[in-house]
Amino acid sequence: MQITYFDNNSATQLDPRVLEAMVPFLKENFGNPQNMHSVGAVAKDALDNARKSVADFIGAKQSEVYFVSCGSEANNFAIKGIADANAQKGKHIIVSAIEHFSVLYAARRLKKIGFEVTILPVNQIGEVNLNELKAVLRKDTTLVSIQIANTEIGTIQNIKELALLAKANGSLFHTDAVCAAGLVPIDVNDLGVDLLSFSASQFHGPKGASALYVKKGTRITPQIDGGVQEEGRRAGLENIPAIVGFGSACELVKNEMIKNSASIKELRDKLIEELPKKVEYVYLNGHKNNRMPNNVNFSIEFIEGEAMMLLLDSKGFMVSSGSACASKALKMSHVLTAIGADPAVGQGSLLISLSKYNTMADVDRFLLEFPAIVKCLREMSPLYAHFIKTGERQVAGPGTDYEHDHDHSEK
């Protein structure tokens, strides 16, 4: 059966050229870059070259790039590292309601040790409002963290203007660029940010290599203490094969991004245009135009997301969903909640994230198969039956009380 991978915001296929660059470092070039001998020196050169490629990719200096293991680590490093380093100056942090959990829960962790966190709401299409940010900035605000784009609903934020506001207030600005890097151009000077997180795994590089950009002169407290790696700011033996892959992925995408994103956007637009024509009662989530070129997110009414994913999987389509059942936490996605999605309708959420390896044939095949899947689930659905009979949407039925406590912080 043909596999059509439509979940690139979760993981991407390695570009064969990236793999080629990595292989020597998984075989004969196994050294530790901290060592003085010749074997170590080969690893050190590779590390330096990768750092140059990664820095160039975002318009930064090499000394401003810190390698970490994953996007979550980059975000934790930013949030906790900045909060701690500036604690004397102030203890107020601002984050948006639709940040990745690694930002939200890092901020929540700070709350537990005496920091104040303001969560900025977003509007129905996921945008942070400039005036609302202005209203909550205080003298003691040391950090604002707002993502370039949202991995679930694709909405792109006005980072330039938001960062300017923070700067005018004397606050630092961090942006999570994990889902945006490799699809839209990123230049830290143009954006005016002080910190930026991004990961190789999002644009056909390997897992295990991410970076935090920290503008020169920014004080930040290391989160992993130990050896002298990363200028003493992040200890730990560097994942050389993955970092080499990261560098290679950056070089490739720097040259190919404009062309790739244009093609991907065509596929996205076809899905957004055609899906509502093939299936009734579907609602686009996120900004219609100002959204990531690879992101398609619809709520499919009257059916549940995990069941939809399973049926799509049986037809070879790999997608994601923001439904409660699809999350291990059994809560509807916090992003859909933040944009005010109807809690019942949001259960039928379908998330497709495309890549350069998807084709128009993939899109056409999906549009062919999807209506039957929706039909099958709607035929089973009491909500759909009720709607067809009465024209009304059932809001809530009598419930069986069951406890489910899935507070993330307990884990």
Partner: protein, 139 residues
């Protein structure tokens, strides 16, 4: 799909007894679309034996599989025995459920019980109406 057992996947992909029963003897509805799980069960009962069970479910793979399994387990049983079906029974019949999906099995068993309770309430009402003759409870 390694998340669910083969039996769960079978009942999800080929659910038994999907539908409604016109003039059902009992109807039971549980769950809440806000939580992502909702089940409506219909039963047909004759001589105290469950003749037919049908269901409609809005929910995940586990919810649909559980509904299918519960409907099969209920069919042919006496009302009393069908009332004794527990969520643990359902989970065992399905070859196990992931821990965070066990509540779906609660819902399935509860929906069937609710339908049977509805049947019993209706049955009691009919009996009382027959006793008093005029149906206003004056007898």
């Amino acid at each position: 799909m390694s998340f669910y057992s083969q039996k769960v996947m079978d009942h999800f992909s080929n659910p038994r007894n999907v539908g409604e029963i016109k003039n059902a003897d009992g109807i039971g509805e549980v769950g809440n679309p806000v939580c992502g799980d909702m089940m409506t069960f219909y039963v047909k009962v004759k001589d105290d034996i469950v003749q037919d069970v049908k269901f409609k479910t809005f929910g995940c793979g586990a919810a649909i599989a559980v509904s299918s399994m519960v409907s099969e387990m209920g069919k042919g049983k006496s009302v009393a025995d069908a009332m004794k079906i527990t969520n643990a029974d359902v989970a065992i019949e399905l070859g196990g459920l992931p821990p965070n999906k066990m509540h779906c099995s609660n819902l399935g068993a509860d929906a069937l019980h609710k339908a049977l309770e509805d049947y019993l309430v209706k049955k009691r009402k009919n009996k009382e109406e027959n006793k008093s003759g005029c149906g206003c409870g004056c007898g």
